[in-house]
């Protein structure tokens, strides 16, 4: 019931009333407020986003406006811009819009991880392991896999979508709903299939968060091979590496 309430809160309020203020409106809005007022609003938005980020579910603009920004709506773009600067300068994060239609954001870590000091405090949440397996299979198979591929692989690891798993519980729900909601995976229907079939792809969050080269290195390690063995994937990982080291 708690989860349902949470879901309900997340789904409410369509962003209908929000219109982007023009630059002149924006400037007028800023002029009417003191810098201290604006700063405080920015800080509130930052804190709001940090807490919402705990669940790793994209944060909706509508929620931010309704709960934090409120009457400062007319200077919303400025607030978001400053909030993002704070994220980058203070935390090394980036606020990324993952849903241009519904306007939702996720927080992404821009910092390279120091292998000796893991950024995440928790001691290896099992879900991460499960997610990693699925993402790595998809990556190694070229970016798209049919649903049975994932389940067959997991079954070998003693994870069965039909049974309640000791650590993961309802695995099917976890994979096709939670991971999808968090934007780690995409679970799409294949048209014209009878009976209905689905495919898995990487979600936006996975694209932003996962270091492909590191993933390939681990996959190679368990195979006792060199990463270059998989030429196509290696090329892809190198390309991704080049791209992400822009900051």
């Amino acid at each position: 019931t708690c989860q349902r309430k949470y879901n309900f809160l997340m789904e409410e309020d369509e962003d209908v009333s929000f219109t982007q203020p023009s630059s002149s409106q924006l400037q007028r809005g800023l002029d009417r407020l003191t810098p201290a007022q604006v700063d405080r609003k920015v800080a509130e938005v930052v804190q709001f986003i940090l807490i919402k980020d705990q669940k790793k579910v994209p944060i909706k603009r509508a929620d931010i406006v309704k709960n934090v920004i409120k009457e400062y709506k007319n200077i919303y773009p400025e607030i978001i811009k400053r909030a993002n600067m704070k994220f980058e300068k203070v935390f090394g994060f980036q606020l990324v819009e993952v849903d241009p239609k519904n306007h939702a954001y996720i927080l992404v870590n821009k910092l390279e991880q120091n292998p000796r000091q893991p950024a995440v405090m928790s001691p290896g949440h099992p879900k991460t392991g499960l997610l990693f397996v699925i993402l790595s299979v998809i990556f190694m198979k070229g970016g798209v896999v049919k649903e049975p591929v994932v389940w067959n692989t997991l079954k070998k690891l003693r994870v069965d979508q039909g049974e309640k798993h000791e650590e993961f519980g309802d695995v099917k729900k976890l994979v096709t709903e939670e991971f999808v909601r968090q934007r780690y995976l995409e679970y799409t229907r294949i048209p014209h299939t009878e009976p209905l079939e689905h495919e898995f792809r990487w979600g936006v969050r996975a694209e932003k968060e996962v270091d492909k080269m590191k993933m390939l290195e681990f996959v190679s390690q368990v195979h006792d091979q060199e990463p270059q063995t998989w030429t196509k994937q290696y090329k892809e990982a190198m390309a991704a590496k080049g791209g992400s080291s822009r900051s």
């Binding site: 995440v120 070998k156 932003k208």
Partner: protein, 362 residues
């Protein structure tokens, strides 16, 4: 497409041309199935009845569905570059196809073909890739090793079919997760550095307390009931005895209202010292409760009588139950014997509880 395949695979069979014509003819007409019979008769030796037998048709469709299911389930296996399963499966379908007569079955065959070509395409893709093809099954096996699978000791079972037996240790997934975390650039989640007050300790404490309380409670419960029982039985027995003795006293008195009853004669049981002591004990209750009283007769010997006895009030005794005097009576086996001798007590006035004889007159 089925036609082409049939042509290539039916080579060794007789009358391939006739069969092709037969199918073409079949698709044209709308239902006279008898025409199909001659087509098949020559090559596979089947009779007309087989074509119409719905059980056979059903069986065939069932076999097709099973084949399709099996291919879907074992997709990964078939794709593995290490075996020829795809070819085997195609051959199986060819065998089934020999018996296809109706559109329904042919449709199933077509469905299977779609599946098989899809797999064929994937296998071909594997060949195209430079370097090794990625095999999820093998990957899974390697992961199991990484996670620390404890393989059970058993005979060599290393064909591709068999999954590794054994059990994963408790922390298997955590171990994998720790290693995998490196690859994620997740933002650390917001949490209170010093923790919040939703701390964990309380639940264990409660449990411990409950556990501790339970045994104590039970122990206590047992004790009182036992004691109570004992007490009750003790009390009951005593009360019963006391009442019984009162009964004796009253009956003696009614028999002979005038003569007083000597206390010693009353309580002493010449056959048993312990009975005597018990009698003294029980009589003391009567006196305590005011049901009987002890007084001294002319010879200063103690006598016992009931409360409502019309007895001569001896000197020194006060009327009314308000005055209570206590004394301690002690008796030893020696004095008991002396009493028996002196008073010449032959029989007990109070019989033992088990013998239900209600002694009448003394």
């Amino acid at each position: 497409m089925s036609e082409t395949r049939r042509r290539t695979n039916r080579g060794p069979l007789e009358n391939p041309e006739a069969q092709r014509n037969g199918v073409a003819g079949h698709s044209g007409d709308t239902g006279d199935e008898d025409e199909d019979a001659p087509r098949a008769a020559g090559s596979s030796g089947m009779t007309e009845e087989d074509d119409d037998d719905p059980a056979e048709r059903r069986q065939l469709r069932h076999q097709y569905r099973e084949l399709i299911n099996s291919v879907q389930q074992n997709r990964e296996d078939i794709l593995s570059p290490t075996n020829n399963k795809l070819t085997e499966v195609l051959e199986e379908a060819n065998r089934l196809f020999v018996n296809v007569r109706q559109t329904r079955e042919a449709a199933l065959d077509a469905q299977f073909l779609v599946l098989a070509t899809d797999l064929g395409k994937e296998k071909a893709n594997q060949l195209h890739a430079d370097g090794s093809a990625f095999d999820p099954s093998a990957y899974a096996e390697h992961l199991l090793s990484f996670m620390g699978l404890n393989r059970l000791e058993e005979a060599e079972d290393s064909d591709e079919e068999g999954a590794s037996s054994g059990y994963l240790p408790q922390d298997a997934w955590r171990k994998l997760a720790k290693r995998a975390e490196n690859c994620f650039r997740t933002t650390p989640s917001f949490h209170f550095m010093l923790g919040s007050f939703l701390a964990e300790p309380p639940p264990p404490r409660q449990r411990v307390e409950r556990q501790r309380r339970a045994p104590v409670k039970e122990a206590k419960r047992i004790m009182p009931t036992q004691l109570k029982k004992m007490e009750e039985s003790h009390q009951e027995a005593t009360e019963k005895e006391v009442e019984r003795i009162l009964g004796y006293l009253q009956s003696y008195h009614t028999d002979d209202p005038t003569s007083p009853i000597s206390y010693y004669e009353f309580v002493t049981d010449p056959t048993s010292f312990s009975r005597t002591v018990e009698n003294i004990f029980h009589v003391s209750f009567l006196i305590r409760d005011g049901m009987a009283k002890i007084y001294q007769d002319r010879d200063k010997l103690p006598c016992i009588g009931t409360k409502d006895m019309s007895s001569p009030v001896p000197e020194g005794e006060a009327e009314g139950s308000s005055s209570r005097q206590q004394c301690v009576i002690s008796i030893s086996p020696r004095s008991w014997k002396e009493i028996i001798e002196v008073f010449g007590i032959k029989e007990p006035m109070i019989s033992a509880p088990n013998s239900a004889t209600f002694a009448g007159s003394q």
